[in-house]
């Protein structure tokens, strides 16, 4: 059998989701954002919500997310995505509303909005990309930076005496009464990607069924910020990040 015989439209088993635009993504090579964008596009397609989705962009690396997935997007002020999502969902109850935020946006600047939106039980989904660093602005320390981890603003490593302890937003969200589904996933292997897809799909379905607010954290790598190759960054993430940020579903009602 020749290669040309296999490469026929009827034999296609996997391709870039059609909801993703052709424009090349601005993310660094090997960035986890791309995989999560792909998963979200696939899920929206599978749910048939292409025309009924409103997504909220954060400020951070994913600030240009509106270029890549062909649904309606709103651009929020820094950290204010859950507030904007609240307004959208209350106005258009039949829409799938989700925010896509990084750890600087969600856990630092927008910690108040996030906690309160989750606690109110807004029928939204928050996708939380946690790479333990401010990726866009040059790798500064974030609230989620691990103890001992070196960043450009703590070059000798994070110490509890000087910088306090890492903030675990997802554990905190699981204790709130308003949340319906809280999960922490990763996208570093094929198996992890499949699990993450299932979690995001469940969160989207929950928000459409009006069960409560949903938070899916994706523990991600930032190879540029961590000063490692994409493959090495994933290894570092497995060794260090997963010890503090345990993967799995924290709450599912």
């Amino acid at each position: 059998m020749t290669k040309e015989e296999i490469i026929q439209p009827e034999n296609l088993v996997y391709a870039k989701p059609t909801l993703m635009n052709e424009v090349g993504m601005h993310y660094c090579p090997g960035c986890s954002h791309g995989v999560v964008h792909k998963l979200i596009a696939e899920i929206i397609e599978e749910m048939g919500m292409e025309e009924k989705t409103i997504a909220i962009c954060p400020v951070g690396c994913a600030v240009f997310a509106y270029r890549y997935i062909d649904v309606d997007w709103l651009e929020a002020a820094h950290g204010r995505a859950p507030a904007l999502a609240t307004a959208c969902k209350r106005m258009w109850q039949d829409r799938l509303v989700f925010t896509y935020q990084g750890d600087g946006d969600l856990a630092c600047i927008g910690a108040c909005e996030t906690i309160h939106a989750l606690n109110r039980g807004e029928k939204i989904t928050i996708i939380f990309i946690n790479n333990a660093i401010y990726g866009m602005t040059g790798g500064q320390m974030a609230p989620t930076t691990l103890l001992g981890m070196k960043t450009s603003t703590c070059p000798y490593g994070r110490t509890p005496e000087l910088h306090g302890y890492p903030l675990n937003m997802t554990d905190m969200a699981a204790t709130l009464e308003g949340t319906a589904f809280v999960s922490r996933q990763s996208v570093h292997t094929v198996a992890a990607i499949r699990k993450a897809k299932k979690a995001i799909r469940h969160a989207f379905e929950n928000s459409m069924n009006g069960k409560g607010s949903n938070l899916v954290e994706i523990v991600s790598s930032c190879n540029s910020g961590w000063k490692a190759s994409p493959v090495k960054a994933n290894e570092w993430m497995e060794e260090n990040m997963f010890k503090y940020y345990h993967l799995g579903d924290l709450k599912d009602i």
């Binding site: 059998m1 290669k3 015989e5 296999i6 490469i7 026929q8 034999n11 296609l12 088993v13 996997y14 391709a15 870039k16 989701p17 993703m20 090349g24 993504m25 993310y27 660094c28 090579p29 090997g30 960035c31 986890s32 954002h33 791309g34 995989v35 792909k38 292997t189 094929v190 990607i193 499949r194 190759s229 994409p230 493959v231 994933n234």
Partner: protein, 77 residues
């Protein structure tokens, strides 16, 4: 015995050469081009041995930029 054969098509101009697919391939069939770059200046990935590809989609699933399309066909012996 029938055998599952696979083939991939790589959008080399979209590829950034992150090599996550090289790691993900269970049969080690992919490699980064040593001395060629695409129009953005990135070295890109290519398949060094397509005969053994089963179309498992591992490379395409982990690709952050969605550069890889996977085709699969059953070969009757």
């Amino acid at each position: 015995m029938s055998k599952i054969r696979g083939a991939i098509v790589i959008d080399t101009n979209r590829c950034k050469g992150c090599a996550l697919c090289v790691e993900a391939c269970p049969f080690d069939l992919l490699e980064i081009t040593p001395k060629k770059v695409n129009h953005k200046g990135y070295t890109y990935v290519q398949q060094k041995d397509w005969e053994r590809c089963t179309g498992c989609t591992s490379c395409a699933v982990v690709c952050p930029d969605g550069c890889i399309s996977v085709y699969r066909k059953k070969e009757e012996a």
